[in-house]
Structures are given as structure tokens and as C-alpha cells.
Amino acid sequence: MSNTISLIFFIIGVVFDLFGCIGLIRLPDVYNRLQSATKSVTLGTCSILFGLFIKFGFSAIGIKALVAIPLLFLASTVAAHALVRGSYKYGIKLWDKTVIDDYKDVQK
């Protein structure tokens, strides 16, 4: 039973990873790419780790996989935020069909 549930979580995680990496290839802009890739790849990897926890239960490896989930959430989101801020200040252009840019007004 736990094998089946963990397998479902693995498949969900790999599908989210697939969508994130397709977004990494296909989207036009560095901000769009990071928007797509970071969120869905993080969720997919967390789903894989949660499936690992369901598979092994409350053993040493299951607890480690459970600890790795909030660590991954915090590290990935903070790194993505710093990366967007850094690349905006470096002067990388937005996509030419971008509608709105609020961060330019905030900086003045």
C-alpha cells in the first residue's frame, strides 16, 4: 500500500520537474524562466522527498527526507529572490513584450 502511494508521489514530482524544465527551455526571458523553473522544480523535488518519507516511514532516512523538505523550500526561494534582484541591478533587459515593471518605480 505504501509502495503505491509513494510511487504516485514520485510520478507527480517527476511531472512537475518536467514542466519546470520545459519552461526553462521555452520561456523568453530570464525572469520568466526563473519564475517557471524555481517554483515547479522545487515542488516536484519536495514531492519526491515526501514520497521517500512515505516509503520508509519513521526511520532514519524518512526523517532526513522530511527535514530536507523545509530546507529545500527556504533555500530555493531565497536563492531565487537574490538572483532576480541581482540580475535586475546588473541591468539585464526585460522581455520586449513585458507589460508592467513595478520594481523600477520602487527603486526611485
Binding site: L24, A60, I61, A65, R85, K89
Partner: protein
């Protein structure tokens, strides 16, 4: 059997990241791809535990999360144009 297929899919996705590292137009694209590759490796380690049965790989996954975090923060700091000790 299905686990093997999922592992092959994840390894193929890491080649997507490699494509973006090689052909990325700007430096930020390359850094994004390296960051995403670091997260994908954690999932690859999680699936390798099930295939090989070596339980120490979860420690490598946790260490890889932290190292990837530090590396991405350092590169972002480099992009803003400040020194690393500011």
C-alpha cells in the same frame, strides 16, 4: 521498473539545464540553470536510494541543497556589483 524510467527522465531533464548553461544569452540564465540543476540532483539522489539501496545518499542530497544555496547567493552578490564581504 517505473523507478528506473523516472530516473532516466530526471537525467534527461538535467541535460535541458546543460543546454541552458551552454547557450544561455546572459550570465543570469546560466546561473538559473545551475540553480535548477542543483535542485534536480536532490531528486536524482532520492530516486537512486530506491534503486541502489544505499542509504547515505540522502546525506549527499541535504549537503547538495546547502552548497547550491551558498553558491547561488554568492553569484547573485557578484551580479549586484558589491564585494563579497559587504
Amino acid at each position: 521498473m517505473i523507478i528506473n524510467l523516472l530516473l532516466y527522465i530526471l537525467i534527461g531533464l538535467s541535460f535541458f539545464c546543460f543546454f541552458r548553461v551552454v547557450f544561455g544569452p546572459s550570465i543570469a540564465d546560466r546561473m538559473v540553470a545551475i540553480d535548477i540543476f542543483g535542485i534536480l540532483v536532490v531528486g536524482i539522489c532520492g530516486l537512486l536510494i530506491l534503486i541502489t539501496g544505499r542509504l547515505f545518499l540522502i546525506d549527499i542530497a541535504i549537503a547538495w541543497i546547502l552548497v547550491s544555496f551558498i553558491g547561488t547567493l554568492t553569484l547573485a552578490k557578484y551580479l549586484t556589483g558589491k564585494k563579497l564581504d559587504e
